[in-house]
């Protein structure tokens, strides 16, 4: 799981080193790689954009014969347009795409495949099987399950928790369903699930109102770290931090730091970082640069991050 990420990065690093050492390895092909990702509208996507740019810059230096085009979209419709332009106007050889939503993006990506473009999908799949050549993604059901397991353990099998949902999308549904399923039959009761849209301001407001409503709350699953930070402020203001457990998700560096420092309120995180774009772009570039075989399906794990292993997941330079 984690090792696969590490090994991917390892392959990438080795390949880079090899090439750097001996520049006379003939490139398999000159190529143009198009990257289509969501725009930096909130923390996670901010990190996504940051790491994308960082990776592309490094790859550009390493492989001057490879061209990269990055497009960002703030809606599914825009992303469809972006992809169509990449294929028709930019004439890309490969597409690395993190679909805003699976359904609307399936047709344009399929079209690209038909035109002979090598397709890598990241994080979310398409609504049809078998279109992409390479899939690098996180594990959403595991995300929800890990969160549920965490509360089960921490609360010793019974207690009351409140949940904050994210932006109404497919992955949010998958996570929440997995969460609910994992808590079935246990003594952990979910009091309510309102939408905080993975947003710190909403997280603050929703938490304030939860605290008003429920005199007893043992834990909060905020959906992700952004909302968790907002929730923490509300909890502190109401003075109900004693005995409260907060869990977010996605591995924001601020939260990881808190875990490393032994914070009482939030002592764990779920690994689901935007850095998963790195192996996706890297592997795709490898295919054209060195001819390495890169098709397949790599599902990165979403393990629980605790004080013990927090160090490994800490990227202080990242905006996320």
């Amino acid at each position: 799981m984690l090792s696969s990420l590490r090994s991917l990065l390892g392959i990438g690093a080795m390949a880079l080193a090899t090439v750097a050492a001996s520049s006379s390895i003939a490139l398999a092909e000159k190529a143009k790689i198009g990257i289509s990702i969501p725009a930096a509208t909130h923390g996670w996507t901010g990190g996504l954009n940051y790491h994308t740019k960082r990776t592309v810059d490094a790859l550009r230096k390493a492989y001057p014969d490879l061209e990269f085009v990055i497009t960002t979209a703030d809606s599914a419709t825009k992303q469809v347009n972006d992809i169509e332009d990449l294929v028709a106007v930019q004439k890309i050889n490969a597409l690395v795409v993190l679909p805003f939503e699976s359904d609307p993006l399936t047709e344009p990506v399929k079209e690209a495949k038909k035109q002979g473009v090598f397709v890598t999908t990241v994080d979310r799949g398409l609504s049809e099987e078998g279109i992409e050549d390479l899939y690098v993604g996180g594990n959403n059901p595991e995300y929800g399950r890990i969160a549920a397991e965490y509360f089960k353990t921490k609360l010793k099998g019974k207690g009351k928790v409140v949940v904050m949902r994210g932006i109404p999308t497919a992955i949010d549904n998958i996570r929440i369903d997995a969460f609910k399923k994992a808590l079935d039959g246990t003594g952990v009761q979910v009091l309510d699930m309102q939408y905080a849209n993975w947003n710190p301001d909403k997280g603050f407001e929703v938490m304030q109102d939860y605290l008003q409503r429920f005199p007893q709350i043992d834990g909060v699953w905020a959906g992700d770290d952004d909302a968790a930070l907002g929730a923490i402020e509300a909890i502190n203001q109401a003075g109900r931090d004693k005995g409260m457990i907060v869990l977010g998700g996605s591995g924001m560096n601020k939260v990881i730091k808190r875990i490393m420092d032994g914070d009482k309120l939030i002592d764990a995180d779920i690994f689901y970082p935007p850095t998963l774009i790195i192996p996706a772009i890297g592997a795709t570039a490898m295919k054209f640069a060195t001819g390495a075989p890169v098709s397949g399906r790599w599902v990165l794990g979403s393990p629980l991050i605790t004080k013990e292993n927090a160090e490994q997941y800490y990227f202080p330079e990242s905006p996320y």
Binding site: A40, T41, H42, G43, T45, G46, G47, L48, N49, Y50, R165, P168, D192, M193, Q194, Y195, N199, P200, D201, F204, E205, V206, Q208, D209, Y210, Q212, R213, D226, L229, G230, E233, Q237, A238, K254, S318, P319, Y320
Partner: protein, 338 residues
């Protein structure tokens, strides 16, 4: 002057006071507010607790302060869609400024004060930009502020790299009381809102400037022919709006201690909605601050009530909010119909 025509027998009684009765037809928003308070109280006992009301009022204060400026802009016949993005940018720049200045001035009140002044300056400049583009170059307010909205927000995203711009922890603790502190048990943001609302209402109804705003919004040609400098007054309203945004922002920043690309999103719509619900006419010419405050409270209470119940699927929150807004405006139909 004339002696040949009889003086009309009935002369109106003299009274110089501000007549509340002139606005009797437009108490609709207050009724809506009262209804919401009633519903909320019935739904959940903790609704009417001082803690909950304080929370809602404090949260509403942000939009409320912005909406005071919006009332002036709309009364004078203009529109400003950029306030949410402006708030985000001001927040981001203010935090960066304070972080930069802290090493020299220390992490104490001096830096925070400097940050506050900086924010007010930024708000004024942003408002000036909007005002000049609209009056000097005669571009539609909708278009200009749509443009500046995009510019402000993308500037903030650029500066923050998509992430958060956060206050140093020392500054955070110093600035914290601005949002969380209380005076005689009332949170500072609420006090700020109250003071600004009273001043705003006074300016709008009892000063020449306020009259001029209403005149321009009612008929700009008449204002011009009455020797009013229409451009100057319009620019002033946009600057006023910018200042209100700055005040709201400097209150907001200590809440989470950070500015992110999602800060201030949709605030402009909420502010405008509050102003309209409150009875100010969207096409200009008539505005009232107390109505705006009621409108802000209505919006805040709706959110609060929906969070306090699980009756409706959270997916329907938007529909319920929209329905209540329409209802609130329908209740004022008597005044609006011309």
């Amino acid at each position: 002057m004339s002696d040949t025509i009889a003086v009309p027998s009935k002369l109106p009684a003299t009274s110089g006071r501000y007549r509340i009765s002139d606005h009797l037809t437009s108490f609709g928003p207050l009724i809506a507010l009262a209804a919401l308070l009633l519903i909320g109280g019935l739904i959940n006992e903790s609704f009417l607790s001082s803690a909950n009301i304080s929370n809602v009022l404090t949260r509403s204060a942000l939009i409320g302060i912005i909406a005071i400026g919006t009332t002036f802009v709309i009364t004078a016949g203009g529109l400003d869609l950029s306030v949410g993005a402006m708030s985000a940018l001001v927040a981001g720049l203010m935090i960066m400024f304070m972080n930069a200045v802290a090493p020299t001035l220390g992490a104490g009140s001096l830096t925070v004060l400097a940050g506050i002044l900086f924010a007010l300056l930024l708000g004024t400049m942003a408002g000036l930009v909007n005002g000049l583009l609209i009056t000097r170059w005669r571009i539609e307010a909708f278009i200009v502020t749509l443009g500046t909205m995009g510019i402000f927000r993308s500037l903030l995203t650029y500066l923050s790299n998509g992430g958060a711009i956060s206050l140093e922890s020392g500054l955070r603790s110093t600035a914290r009381p601005i949002y969380y502190g209380t005076l005689f048990g009332i949170a500072y943001p609420i006090i700020a809102l109250a003071i600004l609302a009273i001043i705003g209402e006074f300016v709008l109804w009892r000063t020449r400037f306020g009259r001029h705003c209403a005149a321009i919004g009612s008929n700009a040609a008449v204002a011009r022919y009455s020797a009013i400098n229409v451009s100057r007054v319009r620019i002033a309203t946009y600057i006023l709006q910018g200042l209100c945004v700055a005040v709201a922002t400097l209150i907001y920043v200590p809440r989470l201690g950070a500015a992110t690309p999602s800060t201030g999103v949709l605030w402009e719509l909420e502010a405008i909605a509050a102003v309209i619900i409150g009875g100010t006419v969207l096409s200009g010419g008539y505005g009232r601050i107390w109505g705006t405050i009621v409108g802000v409270l209505i919006l805040g209470l709706i959110q609060n009530i929906l969070n306090l119940t699980s009756w409706f699927s959270p997916h329907l929150n938007g529909s319920i909010q929209g329905a209540i807004i329409i209802l609130a405006v329908l209740m004022q139909k008597g005044r609006a119909a011309r």
